[in-house]
Symmetry: C2
């Protein structure tokens, strides 16, 4: 039986949603490994819409996270509210600002962040069932709130961001873009991806290792 | 010196823009091969906006092709009007309905299609300079209008679509998803991608060959 992996998206585009390259490379790695991916996203409004050509906020525009994330999944996506931990062997959360704006509010609140309720319920249930969780780029900002004290994680080498996350409970480990941070005790795997990547193949080098390690951990 | 490849996008999302997986896999293959990709898109309004969750037209919404394509390129994109054939070694055009809705109007006009003027000017200049052009998925719908009579191409095995394109000048060759159609005389390479793919790794199998062949042809 192929492994079933939930991939949680947060929109479609690095500045206000899921980082597209990280998400696609994750799905490609999972498919090549024979795993079955199911995308989810919260059915909420995006924090805002960024014009990705100018980098400016698109005033007056509003978009729904689930609807935009559906672009990244060719329409094959479900409401995160309907995700059931018992149906999946693992969870992977790609990065992009959407992870810090729509899945939680780290982008505006820093260490005072709170988590989207559907995300917390689902990912914590997966974690409590001793199934692995992989997070990349800025998504590890949520590890303290998700998993409590002492979870080892990486967001690369940005000390200010790392410290903000550590103050919520995690323990940061510097890590290069082509590698992963494995917390074997807590079954959590992280990689810097576009926190450090200067090219798509650099991002892919770490993401491939993350997906392989998450799948390896599903074997128990 | 690394090869410079222009990648022409048509939005961001399979139903009204560029097919995201095809575009990202193209960029990943180019980067891994040491080539330098530059994304372009026309600075025009999308034909329409499709809600990718429901598949329905999002009434009242309008989006710009260049602005949405910028999501797929992490902001690193230029107006197709500014693309200069002499600066590039090859062109690749991913698919998605955007190729048939925004780069041309094949999706509504069939064999009576007309091409976006910036697209025609740039791609025809590249072609006339004997540089290779790669097209995937439905993008080969443009080969007759772009290159005239006798260009061999594939869009997989959909005979009705193939016939409509053939009536504009091309010669269709059936091709499986994991392979490519090479017109050595005209320097045109095509692959079915999501015209046939039932998974992202299937799409990748043909796209990898297309990118490799386009790059091989830049060696003369």
């Amino acid at each position: 039986m192929s492994k079933k992996i939930a991939v949680i998206l947060s929109g479609c585009g690095v500045f206000d949603g899921s980082e597209i390259y990280e998400s696609v490379i994750t799905l490609l790695c999972l498919d090549r490994a024979g795993a079955e991916a199911q995308c989810f996203a919260p059915n909420i409004q995006q924090m805002h819409v960024i014009n990705h050509l100018t980098g400016e906020v698109a005033e007056g525009e509003s978009r729904q996270v689930l609807v935009e994330a559906a672009r990244l999944a060719r329409g094959e996506i479900k409401d995160l509210a309907d995700a059931k931990a018992e149906e999946f062997d693992a969870v992977i959360i790609p990065g992009g600002f959407g992870a810090a704006k729509n899945l939680c509010d780290f982008a505006v609140k820093g260490s005072d962040l709170s988590l989207n309720e559907d995300l917390a319920r689902f990912v914590q249930a997966v974690h409590q069932a001793d199934k692995p969780v992989g997070l990349m780029c800025i998504a590890p900002a949520m590890v303290g709130k998700l998993f409590g004290e002492g979870v080892h994680f990486t967001i690369g080498n940005d000390q200010e961001t790392a410290s903000a996350i550590e103050s919520t409970g995690g323990v940061h480990e510097p890590c290069p873009v082509n590698n992963i941070c494995i917390d074997g005790t807590n079954n959590v795997v992280t990689t810097p991806a576009y926190m450090l990547a200067s090219s798509i193949s650099e991002a892919a080098s770490g993401i491939e290792k993350l997906v392989a390690e998450v799948l390896a951990k599903t074997e128990g």
